[in-house]
C-alpha cells in the first residue's frame, strides 16, 4: 500500500489530527460483512465476542442449575433421573468453570488491557482470533454432547477410576477431557498475549509502578494460567491415553495410581480458583478507585498482595485431598498454607475499605456490586478458613457445606465484581449507559437471591446432605431447606434475567455515554466510546498512576508512528521507555482455518489415536499459511 500523495508516511506534529484519524481508520478497520467477521483480529471485536459467548454459557449453565434445583426441591422427585442428573451437574460445573468463569475474565482482559495500557491492539492478534474459535468449538462440543445424551457424567473434576476405562464406558469422559484441551489451549494462548502486551506495549511512562491494578491482576493471572494449565493438560491427556491406547497411569493393577489424578487435577484446580478470583479483585480495585474519587489506598500493598496470592495459590492443592489419607505432616502444611492465603486477601479488603473511608464514595451500580462482593467474599473466605482445618473438612467433605463455600467465593468473589465490571465498562464497549434504576434492582435481587439460595446450603451440609445426589428420602430432615433454596433461586434468576434485559435494552436505547462518563482515571477512558478501530490516534504518554486525573483536560501524547501500516509502540518492561515501532498484523482467515483443523483433529482423536497423525497435516498446512509472509508492509517490518 503506497501512501496517498497528501498524507505523509509518518505522523508528526504538523499533521492535522483529523488526517491522522482518517488514515488510521482506513488502516485498522475490519471490513463489514461475513468475511470481515471471520478474519478480524481487532481485540475489541474478539473481546466482545468472547464476553457475549461466555455470558451465553452462563445463561445455559444457569438453566442447568435451575433444573437441579427443581429436581431437589422435593424428596424423591422425578424431574431428572439419576443418569441425567449426573450429566447435568457435570456439565453445569464444567461449563461454569471452563466455558464461563475463566474465559469471561480473559475476555474482559482481551478487550480492556490494550486500552488500559494505551496500545492499538493486543500482542499476537491472530493468535487471539484463533483462541476464540478454539474456545467456541470446545463449548459447542460440550453442549452438543448433552443434547445427544452423551455428556460427561463424572463431575467437573472427573476423578479416576470413575472416569477411567474400567468404569467410564462410552465416550463421555473423553468428551470432558477433550473439552479441557480446547479451553486450556485457548486460555494459554490468551495468557501469552496478555504477558507480551503488558510487558512490551504499555504507553510511554507507564512504568510497572504506574500500571492500573486491573492490568496487574491480569498479569498475575496470565502467569497462573501459564504455570497451572499444563497440569490439567497433562491430566486430561494421560486420561485419554489410558482410555484410548491402554496406558496405565491411573491403573493401580499395573503400577498406576488414582491419587496421581487428584494431585494433577488440584495442582491446576486450586490456582484455577485464583485465575477466576484475581481478575475480579482487579475489577473491584478499579471500581472502588473511580467511585471513591481517589487513588486506591496502598497501591504497593495491593500489588504485593496480588503476587503473594498468585504464589501461595500453588501451595494449597492438597487441601482438596484431606480425606484421601495423606501423611499427617503434609496435611498440616497444607492447612497452614491454606490459612496463610487469607492474609493477602485481608490486606486487599482493608485497602478497599480504607480507600472508601478516605474517599467521597459515589454509590452508583458498579460500586454496589463491589460492596456486595466484599460482604459475600468475606463470608466465603471465612468458610474457606474453616474447611482448611483437617478435622472440620473431614466432617463436611462432599457435603453441601462445600457447595455453599465455593459458590460464595465464585459467585460472590468473581461474578459480583464481573457484573459490576460490566455496568462499569458497558459505556466503553457500546457507547451507551446501562440503566441506573434497573442496575440497583439487579444488585439487590442478585445479592438477596444469592444469599437466600446459598446460605442455607451451609446448614444442609452440616446436617449431612451429600453433594451430587439426585434425590433424597422424605424421612431425612432436608426437605424444608431444599424447598426454600429452590424457591430463593428464582429470586437469583430474576436478578440475572433483569441484568440481561438491561444489557440488551441499553445496547440499543441507553443514554449516550461520552468518552468518560464516570470521570475515571485510566487510559481506556481517554478515547471515544466505543473506541475507534485503532484505539488511540496518538499513543498517550503518562507520568502517573491515574493519568486522566493528573492531566485534567489535556492528554500528553506521542507522535512519530507510521501511517502506511498498522503500527504500535514497543516500550521497555520496567520503565516503559520507547524502544521500537512494531507492525501489528492485519486480518487473516488462517487462524479460523487452523482452528477448524485443530478441532477436527481433537474430536477425531477421541475415537482413534491415528487422528493425531493424519490430523496434524492440515494443522501444519494452516499454520504455514498463517505464518508465510504475504508481502504487506506489516510483514516486511
Amino acid at each position: 500500500m503506497k501512501p496517498d500523495g497528501d498524507v505523509p508516511f509518518t505522523d508528526h506534529a504538523e499533521v492535522p489530527r483529523t488526517a491522522v484519524e482518517m488514515r488510521l481508520a482506513d488502516l485498522w478497520r475490519t471490513p463489514p460483512g461475513l468475511w470481515g467477521a471471520l478474519t478480524t483480529v481487532d481485540h475489541k471485536i474478539i473481546g466482545r465476542r468472547y464476553i457475549v459467548t461466555a455470558f451465553v454459557f452462563l445463561l445455559l449453565g444457569g438453566a442447568l442449575a435451575l433444573l437441579m434445583r427443581l429436581q431437589l426441591a422435593w424428596p424423591e422427585s422425578r424431574v431428572l433421573d439419576a443418569d441425567l442428573y449426573n450429566q447435568v451437574f457435570t456439565v453445569h460445573g464444567a461449563n461454569m468453570m471452563f466455558l464461563f468463569a475463566v474465559p469471561v475474565m480473559e475476555a474482559m482482559a482481551v478487550y480492556l488491557v490494550p486500552l488500559m495500557v494505551g496500545t492499538r491492539n493486543i500482542a499476537f492478534p491472530r493468535l487471539n482470533a484463533f483462541s476464540y474459535w478454539i474456545y467456541l468449538a470446545g463449548g459447542i462440543l460440550l453442549w452438543l454432547s448433552l443434547l445427544l445424551d452423551m455428556a460427561p457424567d463424572v463431575g467437573w473434576f472427573a476423578y479416576v477410576p470413575l472416569s477411567g476405562p474400567q468404569y467410564g464406558a462410552g465416550k463421555r469422559a473423553d468428551i470432558w477431557a477433550q473439552m479441557i484441551t480446547f479451553t486450556e489451549l485457548s486460555a494459554l494462548a490468551v495468557a501469552v498475549e496478555l504477558v507480551a502486551t503488558i510487558f512490551k506495549q504499555r504507553a510511554p511512562g507507564m512504568s510497572l509502578n504506574r500500571m492500573p491494578l486491573f492490568v496487574w491482576s491480569m498479569l498475575v493471572t496470565a502467569f497462573l494460567v501459564i504455570l497451572a494449565m499444563p497440569a490439567i493438560m497433562a491430566a486430561s491427556t494421560t486420561l485419554i491415553l489410558d482410555r484410548l491406547i491402554g496406558t496405565h497411569f491411573y491403573n493401580p493393577a499395573e503400577g498406576g495410581d488414582v491419587l496421581l489424578w487428584q494431585h494433577l487435577f488440584w495442582f491446576f484446580g486450586h490456582p484455577e480458583v485464583y485465575i477466576i478470583f484475581i481478575p475480579a479483585v482487579g475489577m473491584v480495585s478499579t471500581i472502588v478507585q473511580t467511585f471513591a474519587r481517589r487513588p486506591v489506598f496502598g497501591y504497593l500493598a495491593m500489588v504485593l498482595a496480588l503476587i503473594a496470592t498468585g504464589i501461595l495459590s500453588f501451595g494449597l492443592w492438597v487441601h482438596h485431598m484431606f480425606v484421601t489419607g495423606l501423611p499427617r505432616l503434609g496435611e498440616s502444611f497444607f492447612t497452614a498454607s491454606s490459612m496463610a492465603i487469607a492474609l493477602p486477601a485481608g490486606v486487599q479488603i482493608f485497602c478497599w475499605i480504607a480507600t472508601l473511608w478516605d474517599g467521597r464514595p459515589v454509590f452508583r451500580t458498579p460500586l454496589l456490586f463491589a460492596l456486595a462482593f466484599i460482604v459475600t467474599f468475606v463470608i466465603g473466605g471465612l468458610t474457606g478458613v474453616m474447611v482448611a482445618s483437617v478435622p472440620f473438612d473431614t466432617q463436611v467433605h462432599d457435603t453441601y457445606f462445600v457447595v455453599a463455600h465455593f459458590h460464595y467465593v465464585l459467585i460472590g468473589g468473581a461474578v459480583f465484581p464481573l457484573i459490576g465490571g460490566i455496568y462499569y465498562w458497558f459505556p466503553k464497549l457500546t457507547g451507551r449507559m446501562m440503566s441506573e434504576r434497573l442496575g440497583r434492582w439487579v444488585a439487590g435481587l442478585l445479592f438477596v437471591g444469592f444469599n437466600l439460595t446459598f446460605f442455607p446450603m451451609h446448614i444442609l451440609g452440616l446436617e449431612g446432605m451429600p453433594r451430587r445426589v439426585y434425590t433424597y428420602q422424605p424421612d431425612v430432615p432436608w426437605a424444608g431447606l431444599n424447598l426454600f433454596v429452590s424457591a430463593s433461586s428464582l429470586i437469583l434468576t430474576a436478578g440475572f434475567l433483569l441484568f440481561f434485559y438491561d444489557a440488551l435494552r441499553s445496547a440499543r436505547l441507553g443514554v449516550p455515554a461520552g468518552d468518560n462518563p464516570w470521570d475515571a482515571p485510566t487510559l481506556e477512558w481517554a478515547t471515544a466510546s466505543p473506541p475507534p478501530a485503532y484505539n488511540f490516534a496518538r499513543i498517550p504518554v503518562v507520568d502517573g498512576p491515574s493519568p486522566l486525573w493528573e492531566q485534567r483536560g489535556e492528554l500528553t501524547v506521542a507522535a512519530g508512528l507510521q501511517l502506511d501500516r498498522r503500527q504500535l509502540l514497543v516500550t521497555t518492561v520496567g520503565d516503559a521507555r520507547p524502544e521500537a515501532r512494531e507492525s501489528s498484523p492485519t486480518g487473516s482467515i488462517w487462524p479460523l482455518l487452523a482452528a477448524i483443523a485443530t478441532t477436527v483433529m481433537l474430536i477425531a482423536s477421541i475415537f482413534t489415536p491415528w487422528a493425531v497423525v493424519w490430523g496434524s497435516i492440515p494443522i501444519a498446512v494452516a499454520l504455514i499459511g498463517w505464518f508465510w509472509p504475504k508481502g504487506t508492509p506489516e510483514d516486511e517490518a
Partner: protein, 200 residues
C-alpha cells in the same frame, strides 16, 4: 480531550530485536508453558517411581546407545545454532542461509536416532505405568523435535524467498534459534531421568 505532543518516536527502529520484540517474549512464555509440561512429566515419573516396588517395572533399563547418540547430536547442534543466531543478529543473509540449512540437517539427525530410541526403552507404553510414562516423556520431546524441524524448514524456505531480507525475518531466525536451545536444554533432564535414574 485536547492533546499535546510531548514525544516523537519517528527515529525508533521499525522492528525491535530480542527483548525489544514482543515475539521474543511470546517465545519465552511458550517455553515457560512447555517447560512446566516437561517438569510435570518428570514429577509424574518420580511419583510413580516412589510408589513402585521395583523400578524399572518388569523391564530392563533402557539401552544407552540411541539416547546417548541423540544427546551428543543435540549438544553438537548448539554450535551451528549459536553461529546462526549471531549471523542473523548482524543481518548477514548469505551466512544465515547456510546456517539454517545446517540446522535443518541437525533437526533431521536426532529424529533418525530417536526412531531407535523407542525400541531401546525395552518396554511398551501399555505394559505398565513405568512404560506409559517413559513413552510419554520421549513422545513429548519428539513432538518438540518434529515441530521445531518443520518450523526450521519453513523458515529456510522463507529465507531463500523474496521475503528474506528484513529485520523481521532475521528476528524470526533468532527466535527459532532460541527455541532450539530450549528443545536441547529440556532434553538433558529428560535424558538423565529416562536413562540414568533406572541405573541409580
Amino acid at each position: 480531550m485536547r492533546e499535546r505532543i510531548v514525544l516523537d518516536v519517528s527515529t525508533l527502529p521499525r522492528h525491535g530485536m530480542e527483548s525489544a520484540s514482543p515475539t521474543w517474549w511470546g517465545t519465552l512464555a511458550f517455553m515457560l508453558i512447555e517447560g512446566s509440561g516437561f517438569a510435570l512429566g518428570i514429577a509424574i515419573y518420580l511419583y510413580l517411581m516412589s510408589l513402585a516396588p521395583a523400578w524399572p517395572t518388569d523391564a530392563a533399563p533402557p539401552d544407552l546407545g540411541p539416547g546417548t547418540v541423540v544427546t551428543l547430536i543435540l549438544l553438537a547442534s548448539l554450535v551451528p545454532n549459536h553461529f546462526l543466531a549471531r549471523w542473523s543478529r548482524s543481518g548477514d543473509l548469505r551466512k544465515v542461509r547456510w546456517g539454517i540449512g545446517v540446522m535443518s540437517l541437525f533437526g533431521v539427525a536426532p529424529l533418525v536416532a530417536r526412531a531407535f530410541e523407542f525400541p531401546a526403552l525395552n518396554v511398551s507404553w501399555d505394559s505398565n505405568a513405568y512404560g506409559s510414562i517413559v513413552w510419554v516423556l520421549l513422545g513429548l520431546h519428539t513432538t518438540h523435535l518434529l515441530t521445531d524441524l518443520i518450523d526450521t524448514l519453513v523458515l529456510a524456505a522463507i529465507m531463500v524467498s523474496r521475503h528474506a531480507d528484513s529485520r523481521r525475518r532475521f528476528g524470526d531466525v533468532q527466535d527459532n534459534a532460541l527455541y532450539w536451545n530450549f528443545v536441547v536444554a529440556t532434553w538433558i533432564p529428560l535424558y538423565l531421568c529416562i536413562y540414568w535414574i533406572p541405573r541409580l
